[in-house]
Amino acid sequence: MVHIMEGFLPWQWCVVWWIIALPCLVFGIYQLKKVLEKDREALPLLGVTGGFIFILSSLKLPSVTGSCSHPTGTGLSTICFGPWITSVICAIVLLFQSLFLAHGGLSVLGANIVSMGIVGPLAGYAVYRALRNTRINMYLTVFMVCALADLFTYFTTSFELALAYPAEVGGVMSSFALFMGIFAITQVPLAIVEGVVLALVFKYIVKLKPDIILQLKVFPEEKIRAARGET
């Protein structure tokens, strides 16, 4: 899971992650307000990208290690709106899961927001910025962003747990390797499937509503035209 379970993080660490998460959320809400004021047509796009976070993060899928985990779905919204607005959507999903599903919990919510809503999307966003203006295929970019945002979420979860529970021998790093073995390896096949599926979704967004993608300057105009076969 993305989640650290309620009670499994000492309160000191809960506070630390909450302190990191809160300013990001505040900034995300501010950005969200600005985007929606500027362009009401961004709202449906927010609905689609947020909708996929809801759908994908509810699917618990089996993986190669014999345990189940779920994709995060954060990549699309990261590409269209950036990491901070994505944090806000993730916070809503995670709150839902904390309150109704006993997945995660209120004390560990900060830590879970940092992994799923902040570090994952930030890693994806870095890839997106690096590849946006290159000749690399637009859908390949979307694939990589989504897959990496997913993977980095689990790297972060492992790291958060390792910090709280350093091993007696080898300390934080050895715990980190241990948790990575559980979370990250399970996640690799899921991240690949998630990347491919979301790239396909992005193709349909571009097909149906290229104007909004252009307006938000998600990708350069030539790339979108080329993808639509207009050149």
């Binding site: 689609v48 759908i55 290690t65 189940c68 839902f96 109704f100 919990g105 004390s107 529970y165 149906l208």
Partner: protein
């Protein structure tokens, strides 16, 4: 993508491959429980700290779905909410395109 449906085919192959991988792992790993990786993670924490899992009590009390069935219903609800958003917007865009 030179071929019109290239991405669709890749996505389909990825999903089929994923299912195949699942069938393969579930057939060779007879002891696999396919429990959530958070459950596996929690038992790992218990092992690291030398405490039993029961000692980890929620810091903030939380409501726990009384059964797996209720939990999966709520998960389905979450997916449905997402699905409604996605379907509504795609339909909205499609309608906009027609009237334009």
């Amino acid at each position: 993508m030179s071929f019109k449906y290239g991405l669709e085919i890749i996505a389909l192959l990825a999903i089929i491959g994923f299912c195949g991988l699942f069938l393969y792992t579930s057939s060779i790993m007879s002891d696999a429980e396919f429990a959530g990786s958070d459950t596996v993670g929690s038992s790992q924490i218990a092992e690291l700290t030398g405490k039993s899992e029961e000692e980890f009590q929620p810091l903030i009390g939380q409501w726990i779905p009384p059964s797996g069935e209720i939990e999966s219903a709520l998960f389905a609800l979450q997916a449905a909410i997402g699905g409604i958003f996605v379907g509504w917007v795609f339909g909205y865009w499609k309608g906009q395109k027609k009237t334009a």
